[in-house]
Symmetry: C2
Subunit: 201 residues, 2 copies
């Protein structure tokens, strides 16, 4: 019997989500779990929790800017902040959900292309045109992506995914749930793996 997947929640504007996106599939392979990717809108989550984007916070912001750079170096992942960060990411998230229906085996590749455009190349991926262009370069139909981003059904899908995440207690990015057990933060990946492999503490 296949074991339940790891649910991976993130916002395309989350730098720790970007780093986690580059590491989570290896963890899935190591633990024998499929990873289901769920982009959500942290802005909606923050309305619920009263939090604000991490890097804009006093004292916490400078610390995390420093920590992001050293963490990326540690894992050999290129890193910079996109122009105009933090950025709105509805278009990117909608494109991802479109891809999960249209080309499910390539949806994660699209997500990584979008993340890399933002946090490796420094491109602001807010605009639908930018997302479509990145998707086009990644081998997707740019016109279809542009249409999908404006599609009411896809908009509704993203809204439902975000609401479902909040209902499960997700309050940040990245956030992982496996076998009902929640782990918040890129810095908990080792704990997540240990939990799966050790059968709980």
């Amino acid at each position: 019997m296949t074991k339940p997947p790891i649910a991976f929640y993130f916002d395309f504007s989350s730098p720790y989500g970007y780093i986690a996106a580059h590491r989570i599939e290896a963890l899935g392979v190591a633990t024998g779990r499929r990873v289901d990717w769920h982009p959500i809108l942290l802005g909606v989550v923050f309305k619920e929790t009263g939090q604000s984007p991490l890097l804009t916070q006093k004292l916490r912001g400078p610390y995390h800017a420093h920590d992001l750079a050293r963490t990326a170096r540690r894992f050999g992942i290129p890193f910079r902040l996109p122009e105009g960060f933090p950025m709105a990411t509805m278009a990117a998230a909608r494109a991802f959900y479109w891809a999960t229906d249209t080309a499910p085996d390539r949806a994660k590749a699209l997500a990584l292309a979008l993340f890399d455009a933002a946090f490796a190349a420094g491109i602001n991926i807010t605009r639908a045109e930018t997302v479509a262009e990145i998707a086009g370069r990644a081998g997707f139909d740019a016109g279809a992506v542009t249409a999908a981003i404006a599609d009411p059904a896809i908009k509704e899908r993203l809204k439902a995914e975000t609401d479902a995440a909040i209902a499960k207690g997700v309050f940040g990015s990245p956030y992982f749930i496996v076998d009902g057990e929640p782990f918040w933060g890129h810095d908990r990946l080792a704990d997540l793996q240990d939990w799966i492999q050790g059968g709980g503490w």
Copy 2:
């Protein structure tokens, strides 16, 4: 030449600070660094950052209550929340700074006695009388502790320590600084050790 110490910042009301207090000295031994303990008042820090006590926050609170229990289990440390948590901890912090002058080699033992009273026995350690009683059981002069908690010079010392911590960027508990490098959170202890032993990432 002796290597610079690890500065360990915490609030006696911080449950992750309590867990870290039980683990940081072993890390100091493993890395050949002395650990300097700095209790501070997170309430003052939160006025600066706009944050609030972790466990009272929406969505984040329930997650961390769950995470604290599993983390304590994982490391074999008894854990419960004190009555009336979160609690004010000026008296505990002042008693600690008094001990650093009066019995420096036993100040950390007093800190652990206070932490254990709170998070292992579940006692609210806000009141000066409670702190003095715990100190008395730990072998300190309870009357001297009561006097110290009301001593303007000790009050000033705690204020100065908290201000100095904020000036160094400390925004939470536990928070560690070694060789100018900051690490926030109990879940970064392994990173802190790796940083010291690996010479930086």
